[in-house]
């Protein structure tokens, strides 16, 4: 994007203005996410930078909100921090319980969505798949239909089939989250398969491999990066979903987003910012993983950036 040597003076000025505009837009994109990180270390219960923080005075910073996060909901938060204190935290601290619930729901929803989604993506990318377009439209629709409509429909449906009395905890939420994650799996896996060189399967068959061996030894390793990114998308969708949980979740089925939602609606405290910071760090790690997977997938398939 270098400026050509024949550029006129006005063009030069415009070029630099344009770069400044771009920087500002990138700032708009990223600053709101990063701003929560320093604010979560605020020693005061405010949502803005105190003077002490601005002058980088260490007393202006503290980890008290992270501590609150850990102790909130415990039976004896002020006891000495020995093994029984940690056991108490593990059992009773509200955020730890929410994390456990979120992980359980996210795990099963991801497994369901990835398994079914990968299978379907394999079928969808076969050249002679019948009614490909309408079926694809149906499978992607959970991403397009507003979440409130999905939640409303599920609320009626689950009370109609009395899913709560089936005795399987979290079942309703897991099924709903799997549904919401499926479009992401379909999109990423079909994208991977679209760059797939089908002569490889023919070569495998030619060398004597049966279809099963071909699938596990040739196809699977090649599409695995796409499948894993799809799974990560599905997991994040479930991990971040609050509306369905609010509508169909039982009272004790607290998840991290639901706990956050309650915290924001009722009385927003800087403890929310410490949760937000942890979630931002998790999303940075996830993004890095997906990026690495993408590069690996490109390398495997012989597409490399110039």
């Amino acid at each position: 994007m270098a400026l050509p040597s024949y550029a006129s003076r006005a063009e030069r000025i415009w070029h630099y203005t344009y770069l400044v505009i771009c920087v500002l837009i990138f700032l708009f994109l990223i600053a709101p996410i990063l701003i929560v990180i320093p604010l979560s270390f605020n020693a005061e219960p405010y949502f803005t930078f105190t003077e002490k923080m601005l002058s980088l005075d260490p007393t202006g910073y503290s980890t008290r909100w992270y501590d609150l996060l850990l102790t909130f909901g415990m039976n004896a938060p002020d006891a000495t921090r020995d093994s029984s204190w940690w056991a108490d935290a593990w059992e009773n601290a509200a955020w730890i319980r929410a994390t456990k619930n979120s992980l359980i729901i996210g795990f099963f929803a991801t497994v369901l969505a990835t398994g079914l989604g990968t299978l379907a993506a394999l079928g969808l990318s076969k050249p002679d798949m019948p009614w490909r377009r309408p079926i694809m439209a149906i499978l992607i629709s959970p991403m397009i239909v507003p979440i409130i409509i999905t939640a409303t429909g599920l609320f009626f449906f689950y009370s109609y089939i009395r899913i709560g009395s089936w005795g399987i905890p979290y079942l309703g939420i897991i099924l709903a989250h799997a549904t919401l994650g499926i479009p992401f799996v379909i999109i990423t896996v079909t994208a991977t398969l679209s760059g797939f060189d089908h002569s490889l399967t023919r070569a495998a068959a030619n060398l004597g491999a049966n279809p099963r061996t071909t699938f596990f030894r040739v196809i699977m390793p090649l599409i695995l990066p796409g499948v894993i990114s799809g799974a990560l998308f599905a997991f994040v969708t479930s991990f971040d979903e609050v509306v369905v949980v609010l509508f169909v979740g039982a009272l004790d089925e607290q998840t991290i987003p639901r706990q956050m939602w309650n915290g924001i609606r009722e009385q927003i405290s800087p403890a929310i910012l410490s949760v937000a910071t942890i979630l931002v760090i998790i999303s940075i790690l996830l993004l890095a993983t997906v990026e690495l997977l993408r590069r690996r997938g490109e390398k495997l398939r012989g597409i490399s950036p110039q």
Partner: protein, 432 residues
């Protein structure tokens, strides 16, 4: 071989086992079609059961409400019909008939049943949706029904003059059949008068059309804002060498991967009247400490936060259209004498239109149904139609109304979705 090519219709090509080649090919194709379909089938069934059926059931609820005809015991699940006598009277007498003594006898009988089955509140609630203030009418009527003496018409009207209201009778008539279009009418700010004609409700009671209008306007505004912000950076990303653009892409993808609640919370912190932005502006002396700008719990909050949240959905399709554009076209235009503005307007911009259409449709579709962000930062005048659906689901408990609003919203979204599939193709949806 020579025979087969010169006279193919007579002999026909056959496979090694003697079948005609055409039939063998058709057979093989059918088998591979079946195999492909079987791979998709489990997921299709899953989606139909966990997604399509629930939504269909909800759509049904928007035109079906048995609150005035059936009482359901919540513990046993047993269903008892209520308001039977009145329904019979409605069947025998056409709409517009003046309710006579027989009608009131039927009504009092039904009120007694309501008392026995404890369904007065439920039946009253059903009427209350259309005629506010009717719930207490039914609970009071059911409580006193036993003590009433004939003639029942005078007795009931003496108990509460509302029983003589022709509008009430019209509403009871429509509620006595389970299928009703009332909720759709109400969702479009229409109602029926005592004669059963459709008319708009009073100007100051029109909330739904106004809210649909606001949802539409705000979504358009957000779409335009995301386009304005996304275009320059997508262009920059598309023209930089891949090494740098992949790095800068992180700025676009990180918000995409960050929790929605985190992003909304960040905006709440930034926009609060005691928040970072206001503090910064006060510190710079741009505004006085006393007149901090109210940027949250109104439209500004909704628009700013949603623009930020939906921006990646605009950048990604634009980028994927801009990346393959050959830069030599613009250079050719320049060498033919076009100014840089003309070259952009006549050469570059038209090539990006598919990306603009894809991004704008996607952002608009997502914005129209948005719930979380407006609920948290929207206050009262920055909320959208989804928030009203949630209100009817959770607070007013008028579920049929929520279902009717949801059906209208869903109808609009599906049209846009169909359009998106037509213009862009769902296969081209990309996520980073």
């Amino acid at each position: 071989m020579a025979d087969a090519t010169t006279n193919p219709t007579n002999t026909g090509l056959t496979t090694a086992d003697g079948k005609p080649l055409k039939a063998a090919l058709a057979h093989a194709q059918a088998r591979s079609r079946r195999r492909a379909f079987l791979l998709v089938l489990p997921l299709l069934l899953f989606i139909v059961i966990t997604f399509i059926v629930p939504i269909g059931q909800m759509l049904k609820r928007s035109v079906y409400n048995d609150g005035f005809t059936v009482q359901k015991n919540l513990t046993t699940g047993e269903k008892t019909p209520i308001m039977v006598n009145l329904a019979n009277w409605f069947d025998e007498n056409p709409a517009g008939t003046e309710p006579d003594e027989t009608a009131f006898v039927a009504l009092v009988e039904d009120l007694k049943t309501l008392k026995e089955t404890r369904a007065a509140g439920q039946a009253g609630t059903r009427i209350n949706y259309e005629l506010p203030g009717s719930r207490s009418l039914f609970t009071q009527g059911a409580r006193k029904a036993k003590k009433l003496q004939p003639p029942f018409k005078e007795a009931l009207i003496e108990l509460n003059p509302k029983w003589g209201d022709p509008k009430l009778w019209q509403v009871m008539r429509s509620a006595s059949s389970n299928l009703t279009g009332t909720f759709f009418l109400a969702a479009m700010d229409r109602t029926r008068n005592a004669d059963g004609d459709i008319m708009s409700v009073d100007e100051d009671h029109q909330i739904y059309l106004k809210l649909f209008g606001r949802t539409f306007m705000l979504s358009v505004l957000i779409t335009v804002l995301t386009l304005i912000l996304a275009y320059p950076i997508a262009h920059l990303l598309a023209t930089l060498p891949l090494r740098y653009s992949n790095l800068l892409m992180i700025f676009v993808l990180l918000p995409f991967w960050t929790s929605l609640l985190v992003r909304t919370t960040s905006w709440m912190i930034l926009l609060q009247s005691q928040g970072v932005l206001n503090d910064a502006m006060v510190a710079m002396g741009l505004i006085g400490n006393d007149n901090r700008i109210q940027m949250m719990y109104n439209k500004i909050g909704t628009v700013v936060a949603m623009t930020h949240i939906l921006l990646p959905f605009m950048v990604l399709p634009l980028y994927s259209v801009m990346r393959p554009i050959n830069p030599s076209y613009v250079r050719a235009a320049r060498s033919l004498g076009a100014t840089s503005w003309t070259a952009f307007r006549r050469i570059y911009f038209p090539q990006t239109v598919p990306g603009i259409a894809a991004g704008a449709l996607l952002v608009f579709i997502l914005a129209v149904g948005y719930y979380i962000t407006p609920a948290l930062v929207g206050g009262s005048d920055g909320t959208l139609i989804s928030n009203l659906i949630a209100f009817h689901m959770q607070k007013s408990l008028n579920w049929s109304m929520a279902a009717a609003l949801a059906s209208l919203l869903l109808g609009g979204i599906l049209i846009l979705y169909w359009l998106y599939d037509r213009l862009v193709g769902i296969d081209n949806l990309k996520l980073g």
